[in-house]
Structure formats: structure tokens, C-alpha cells
């Protein structure tokens, strides 16, 4: 087992490099701010007021509810999609990739065309209030959860379904013996992701919730922006960091290591979910998912389709979005490649750091550090890319980590025996065997990046206009219909990417 030890040592070194990179970018965000706050106000700058408690309670309440409402139906819908086939199956999954790319205000507008006053389902749900916040969060995160869980269920060994069919497992027995052992590992991760996304939600919470709904993120933004009270912002950020890191550590404890692992030779074919009851339940769940996700998308498509215009500024923005998305996704994948192979809770927490540490805080810290270059376009683009990559990291890892775990169990000894390591191992073992998860995680990172508005809003643009920021600019100049066209383009772009990624993954699956 000498070779195995060498392999481990080499990996540890790579992990260390990736971890250091992520950790230092977080610290490079925090430390300059702390220094700034202390140099202006001393330790007294760090203080809290009474209102924080309410803010904390509301943040946790809405994030928890959004998480539960997205993750549980998400799991059931993913399971239904995995075991039922029907015309449009593939397109439904692709459409489920679109919400992730949409800026929050576009989603709010799309939701109002369905649930708003004087609209189709107006009055079905109290759009302005907690109900609307939850609806919007579920619209964003339910399809995300479905895709992540579906990806996980694809990793189940085909033999398991054959064996279950032979042993005449009921659907329930199959769930507990075959599916749950795989889901169990990813449920805490997906839940933590959704929870953090909702805790950091800003535009949705403010627009639909009004001043009653103040989350930690809103409070941080207010201190940082309006009051320019860096001490208070940092205190709030530290609360958020401690809270979220605690949650992540907790979810890491729930996570267990024995994953069933897939064989690659067989097609995954399922023999369960054939009874009437099971079909009824599955198609009800699928219909529910479609009912939540499709009507707002349809509204977005129908209002944007006629407004789309291919002007130089739209092309320019699409180009920037595409380029920034590509580079930051590659960067995210590169970092994730190394971090995803570690399963300790520290790495897990690190992977989520860009969601745990408020991006507003991180970006301000980076700015203080880079202020001498703040007018250089390339530095601004580089920072946007770095922030996007960090924000995509947790999503990429949630797809890659189970795939790595599976490969490691299957081939590590063989690789050690053959002295396959480093680039040779990546080229001959990891890349071919992980094409599908790699493509899927790249897609997710890309869609997140092209839809991102956080980085560009925080860092200023210097003429860098992406599709989401173009939407923002068009709306700011009364051009709501142009903005609808641009939003349509963004949605179509992400749909095409989802389609391409799936085709590419399928093509390489058959090898």
C-alpha cells in the first residue's frame, strides 16, 4: 500500500493549495475591513443594537421555511422524474435549470404576471408578504434541488435496482434500502445550500416583504451602504458567519460516508414505481413542480419574446456575461476539483464560505485591498470572476463530491497499483469517468455566473455590462420592455446551455 500513501500525500498537497486559496480570499475580504473599522472607531466600532434579534429571527424563519418547502418536494420530484418516463421529461429538466440564471427582479416580475393583481392566479397567494417571499424562493430553489437530487439518483448502481426487483422490494423498501443511502449524503448539503441562499436573499425579501421583512443581509447592506458603519456590518457578518458555519458543521455531522457506488457498465433502468398509487403520486409531484416553475417562465417568455432586440449593447452584454461565466466556472471547477475530494467538515464549510461570508462584506474588503487599481477594467473583471467563482463553488462541490467518493472507492487501489497519479490519473481515470457530473456542475456554475448581479453591483462596472446588469440599466431608464427582452435572452441562453450540457454528457456516457 506504499503507492496509496504517496497518492494520499500528493492529494493532500493539492487540497491544501485550493483550501489556502479559498481561505485567503475570504480573509483578504475580512481583514482589511476589520483593520479599517478599528482604525476609524477602535474596538467600540463593533457593537449591536436591540433590533438585531428580530432580524435574526426573521432571517432564520424565512430561510428555514424556504428550505423545507424546496428540499422535501425537490427530493420527491427528483425521485418521480428518475423513475417515470414521459414525453417532455428531458425538456422539463432543462427548463428547471433556467430559474437559477434569472436575476431576482425578473423573477418577481414574472411571478406578478401570474399571481399579481388582476392576473391569472391573482389572490391565490398573498404575494406581498411571507407567502410571496416563500413562493419566490421556492421558484428559485425547488428546481435547483430537483436537479441536484436527480443528479445524485443517477449515481445509484443499476445492479441495486435489479436486485431490488428480484427481491420484490416495495417502493418504500426500495426507497430506504437503495435511494435513501444515496440521498442521505446529499440532503444536508443541498439543504444547507438552499438555506444559505435564502438567508442571503435581498431583492426578493425587500420587494415582496417590505420593511417588515428585514434579513441579516439587508441589515448588513444598510450598515455598509447607507450608514457606512463598517463596525456594525462586520458584527452582523460575524453573527452570520458563526451561525452558518455552525449549521454547516451540524449538517456535516449528519452526513455519513458509506455511499453505494455505481457500476458504469449497465444502463440504469428502474423497475419500481409501476403501481397505480406510485404513478399517481409521482405524476402529482411532477405536476406540482411544473405548476410552480413553468407558468412564471412562460410569462417571462411570452412578454420577452416580442421585445427581444439584437442591438450592439445587448450583444456586448451577452459577450461579457458569456466570457465572465466561462472563466469563473472554470475557476470554480478547478477549486472544487481539489476541495470536493475532502469530506471533512472543515472543507465542507470552506466550500460554502462564499455563501456564509456575505459577498457585500467580502467585496468591500477586496476593494480596500485593491483600491490602487480600482480604475483598471481588468482588475474589476478579475474580481468579478473571482467572486463569481467563489459563489459557484458550493454548488459545484455538491455535485462533484459524491462522484469523487464513488470513484475513489472503486479505483483508488487500482490507480495506486498502476502508479497512476497526478495528471495521468486525471486524464485517464477521473475525466472520462466523471464527464457527466463535471459537465453538470460546470453548467450550474455557468448559469449562476451569467445570472449574477451581486458581484457587479458591489464592485462597480467600469463599462463592464453583463446581461443582468443591462436589465437593471434598462429598467433604470424606463425601458421595462427592453429589459423583458434581455431577460428572455438570458433565459434562452441558459436553456440552450442546459440542453448542450445534457447532450454532451449523454454522448460521453455511452463510451
Amino acid at each position: 500500500m506504499n503507492g496509496s500513501k504517496q497518492l494520499m500525500a500528493e492529494r493532500t498537497y493539492q487540497h491544501f493549495a485550493a483550501q489556502t486559496l479559498v481561505l485567503s480570499s475570504v480573509f483578504l475580504g475580512l481583514v482589511p475591513l476589520i483593520w479599517f473599522a478599528i482604525s476609524r472607531g477602535g474596538i467600540a466600532a463593533f457593537r449591536l443594537d436591540a433590533g438585531v434579534w428580530d432580524v435574526l429571527v426573521f432571517t432564520l424563519e424565512q430561510a428555514f421555511l424556504s428550505m423545507v418547502l424546496s428540499a422535501i418536494p425537490g427530493l420527491l420530484i427528483a425521485r418521480a422524474l428518475a423513475r417515470q418516463d414521459f414525453p417532455g421529461h428531458a425538456w422539463l429538466l432543462r427548463l428547471f435549470a433556467v430559474p437559477t440564471a434569472l436575476p431576482a427582479i425578473v423573477v418577481v416580475l414574472a411571478l406578478t404576471s401570474i399571481y399579481g393583481n388582476r392576473h391569472l392566479l391573482g389572490g391565490w397567494i398573498e404575494l406581498y408578504g411571507l407567502g410571496g417571499i416563500l413562493l419566490a424562493h421556492v421558484f428559485f430553489n425547488l428546481p435547483l434541488a430537483v436537479r441536484l437530487f436527480y443528479e445524485a439518483s443517477e449515481q445509484i448502481a443499476p445492479e441495486n435496482f435489479r436486485l431490488s426487483a428480484q427481491l420484490s422490494f416495495t417502493d418504500r423498501e426500495l426507497f430506504w434500502h437503495v435511494e435513501w443511502p444515496v440521498f442521505r449524503n446529499i440532503v444536508p448539503r443541498v439543504s444547507a445550500l438552499i438555506f444559505l441562499l435564502c438567508a442571503a436573499s435581498f431583492v426578493i425579501v425587500l420587494t415582496l416583504g417590505g420593511p417588515t421583512a428585514t434579513t441579516l443581509e439587508v441589515a448588513i447592506y444598510q450598515s455598509l451602504r447607507l450608514d457606512f458603519d463598517i463596525g456594525r456590518a462586520l458584527t452582523l457578518a460575524l453573527i452570520q458567519i458563526v451561525l452558518c458555519f455552525g449549521l454547516v458543521a451540524l449538517s456535516g455531522r449528519v452526513m455519513l460516508q458509506n455511499v453505494t457506488h455505481a457500476g458504469n457498465q449497465l444502463f440504469q433502468r428502474r423497475y419500481d414505481g409501476r403501481g397505480f398509487g406510485a404513478r399517481f403520486f409521482d405524476f402529482t409531484m411532477i405536476a406540482l413542480g411544473a405548476f410552480i416553475v413553468l407558468p412564471p417562465l412562460l410569462a417571462l417568455f411570452s412578454s420577452g419574446m416580442t421585445q427581444i432586440q439584437i442591438s450592439p449593447q445587448v450583444l456586448n452584454a451577452a459577450g461579457f456575461s458569456f466570457g465572465i461565466g466561462m472563466i469563473s466556472s472554470c475557476l470554480a471547477l478547478l477549486l472544487a476539483w481539489n476541495i470536493a475530494q475532502q469530506s471533512d467538515w472543515f472543507s465542507q464549510g470552506l466550500a460554502l464560505s462564499a455563501l456564509i461570508v456575505p459577498p457585500a462584506v467580502m467585496a468591500t474588503g477586496w476593494f480596500i485591498l485593491l483600491r490602487d487599481f480600482s480604475d483598471s477594467v481588468s482588475v474589476v473583471i478579475a474580481t468579478i470572476i473571482a467572486l463569481n467563482a467563489l459563489m459557484a463553488l458550493p454548488f459545484v462541490i455538491s455535485i462533484l463530491a459524491p462522484a469523487f467518493e464513488r470513484n475513489r472507492k472503486k479505483y483508488d487501489r487500482l490507480c495506486a497499483q498502476l502508479a497512476l497519479s497526478g495528471w495521468q490519473k486525471i486524464r485517464h481515470i477521473d475525466l472520462p469517468l466523471m464527464t457527466r457530473p463535471l459537465v453538470q456542475s460546470f453548467l450550474l456554475a455557468f448559469i449562476l455566473s451569467i445570472g449574477d448581479l451581486t458581484a457587479i453591483t458591489l464592485l462597480g462596472n467600469q463599462g463592464v455590462v453583463t446581461l443582468p446588469s443591462l436589465i437593471q440599466i434598462q429598467m433604470g431608464h424606463y425601458r421595462g420592455s427592453d429589459a423583458a427582452g434581455t431577460a428572455f435572452l438570458l433565459a434562452i441562453l441558459s436553456l440552450i446551455c442546459a440542453w448542450a450540457a445534457q447532450k454532451f454528457g449523454d454522448a460521453h456516457d455511452l463510451d
Binding site: V108, L206, P211, T212, R225, L226, G460, M475, G476, Y478
Partner: protein, 331 residues
């Protein structure tokens, strides 16, 4: 290879020539520049008058510009800062980085006149409630009527914590009602459907038909009349008067291009700059334009009275007033 080297040298030489020109760095907010803002035209016009280059550095909005200055302090790269409003100038003054603008203040034509020698106005606009004439037949004639109006007719506001117009309305309420503002907020609360993080979101939801009225500017209907040829959206005229927003520019004292910066300040109150304000920035010009304003501007509401707090008052009370508002709407 030689060819590449040659090209590179030429490019470098060209760069050096470009560098030789004086570069005037102007911080401003995002929507002032870009494809829809007046920035590009103003830059071109000013560059005609000097052997120089204007470099726009755009940040989210006026507050983001101020925060950038707070982070940078005396090391700022700006020569000129354009896009603060009078609610921010007291704080900006306290940074101690601004010098005198050196322009004759009597040239600035803003309601109430102008005396500040540190900041110079380049445009202004009265806030107003814009309503959808298809949904509202009898618009409110006063703030009082708005507050006490039918709670079923919903309005959209902006959050004063994150938005400049949002803060504007908070100050409007305060300037009309003083200590009674919290109770009035409590009454008005029943009509508020949306308190959006920014003007963009509020106005988009308004044009979508979610609300019949939105907090915006007196000039907003001009856009719809000129660009969309529709009278559908109009502003309501309030007898108590309308709160005023004045957008200003200032010169950085330590700027290495101070003469050029002051030349730019002088340019601000000339038609070369002002012509781009009404129908591109959709605000009122702070001095004469070369041609009269389009006739649609005559149809806009002309506030009977202008309400405005001094920058010092806003700076002293803003935090308390926001807390007061927060308690009132959450009560």
C-alpha cells in the same frame, strides 16, 4: 515575430500619445453613463473644448459614489465627482476632500436659488406620485389625501434605507408632518403594497399594473409622452408642495488636474452639458439649454411650493428619522 514587435511598439507609442493628454477622472453613478445615459455625449462635447480626455468611473448610485470616496479618502483617483444629491453633501463635505468649484453660483437656476461654493448643481427634480390614469380617475390633490385615501388602492414606495427616492419621500413626510409623521405613516401603511429596494423595482411593478401609483419624479410622465407617445401615466400635484432632489458635482481639492476640473465645472452650467439632461437623464436642467424644452415638459406638474431640508439637517437626523419610520411601519 518582427511584425508583432513592430505593431506592439506602435501601439505603445500610440498609448503614449494618448497618455500625454490630460485625463480627467469623473466618478458618477451608473445610469449617467452607458448606452442610455447622457455621459457619452457630454464627454464628447467637453473634449471638443480642451485637449483632454474625460474618463468616467461609474458606480452603482450616488450613495455608492460617496462610499467609494469614504473608502479612498484623500487617495481618491477622482478629479471630479458628479452624482451626489443634497442629502449627501453634508457627509461629503465632512470628508474634507472637496475644494471650491469656483463657478459663479448665480448661474445655477434651481428652485430656491443656490449658494454652496463647494458643490454645484447640474440638474434637479421634484419628487411626485405618478399614477395610472386608467386605474385612477381622481388622483389625490394633497399628501393628506394620499395618506387618507382608499386603502384598496395600492401604492408602491421605495425603501429609504436602500434608495434615494425612498429617502426623499421619508423627508417629504417629515417636512410636511414633523412630529406627527409616525402616525401618518401608520395610516398610509394600509395603502402600501410594495416597499421596493430601489426605484427600478418599484417603477417596473407599477408599469406592470401591480399598483396604481408609484413614488417617482414630476418628470417621469415626460418620458412616456415623448418616447412612448402616451398620456397614460401622470403625476399628481400636491398642495403642500413637493420635495426637491438636487444633483450636484464637486472638485477634489488634491486633484493634479485641478484647473481642468474647474473648467469641467464651468462647462456643467453651459448648454453643451445641459442639453443632454431633460430628455436623456429625464431631470430638469440646472441652467439654460440651447433650445426650449419639448412641449411635453409644459404639461408636467409645476409644484406650488418646494420642500427641502438643508444638507446639515438631513445629515444630523437621517438615522433617527429612518428608525422612526421603521418603527411606525412595523408597529
Amino acid at each position: 515575430m518582427k511584425k508583432i514587435l513592430l505593431t506592439a511598439t506602435m501601439l505603445l507609442a500610440l498609448g503614449a500619445v494618448a497618455q500625454a493628454k490630460d485625463v480627467l477622472t469623473v466618478y458618477t453613478y451608473e445610469s449617467f453613463v452607458g448606452d442610455y445615459g447622457p455621459g457619452a455625449k457630454i464627454k464628447a462635447k467637453f473634449e471638443e473644448t480642451c485637449d483632454c480626455e474625460v474618463k468616467w468611473v461609474s458606480l452603482g448610485d450616488g450613495v455608492a459614489v460617496l462610499n467609494r470616496l469614504k473608502l479612498e479618502g484623500k487617495d481618491t483617483k477622482a478629479d471630479v465627482v458628479l452624482g451626489l444629491d443634497t442629502n449627501l453633501t453634508a457627509e461629503a463635505h465632512d470628508l474634507g476632500v472637496f475644494g471650491k468649484h469656483g463657478v459663479d453660483v448665480s448661474r445655477a437656476k434651481v428652485p430656491g436659488g443656490w449658494t454652496d461654493t463647494e458643490f454645484l448643481p447640474y440638474d434637479y427634480g421634484h419628487f411626485a406620485f405618478v399614477y395610472n390614469t386608467e386605474l385612477i380617475k381622481n388622483p389625490p390633490n394633497s399628501l393628506e389625501e394620499l395618506v387618507n385615501g382608499d386603502p384598496k388602492q395600492k401604492i408602491a414606495l421605495e425603501d429609504p434605507r436602500s434608495s434615494t427616492p425612498g429617502l426623499g419621500f421619508l423627508l417629504w413626510m417629515k417636512s410636511v408632518y414633523g412630529d406627527k409623521a409616525p402616525e401618518k405613516w401608520k395610516v398610509l401603511k394600509k395603502r402600501i403594497l410594495i416597499t421596493a429596494p430601489g426605484w427600478n423595482e418599484a417603477y417596473a411593478l407599477f408599469t406592470k399594473g401591480e399598483v396604481s401609483m408609484v413614488f417617482s419624479y414630476v418628470t417621469s410622465p415626460a418620458y412616456h409622452m415623448i418616447e412612448e407617445k402616451t398620456d397614460k401615466y401622470q403625476a399628481a400635484n400636491f398642495v403642500e408642495g413637493h420635495y426637491l432632489q438636487i444633483e450636484v458635482a464637486g472638485v477634489i481639492e488634491a486633484s493634479p488636474h485641478k484647473a481642468l476640473a474647474q473648467k469641467f465645472m464651468d462647462f456643467i452650467l453651459t448648454p453643451g452639458f445641459q442639453d443632454n439632461i431633460p430628455t436623456i437623464n429625464w431631470m430638469m436642467p440646472a441652467s439654460a439649454t440651447s433650445a426650449p424644452l419639448p412641449s411635453e415638459f409644459d404639461k408636467l406638474v409645476k409644484p406650488a411650493k418646494t420642500l427641502i431640508y438643508s444638507p446639515q439637517e438631513v445629515n444630523a437626523h437621517r438615522r433617527d428619522w429612518i428608525n422612526e419610520w421603521f418603527k411606525a411601519v412595523n408597529g
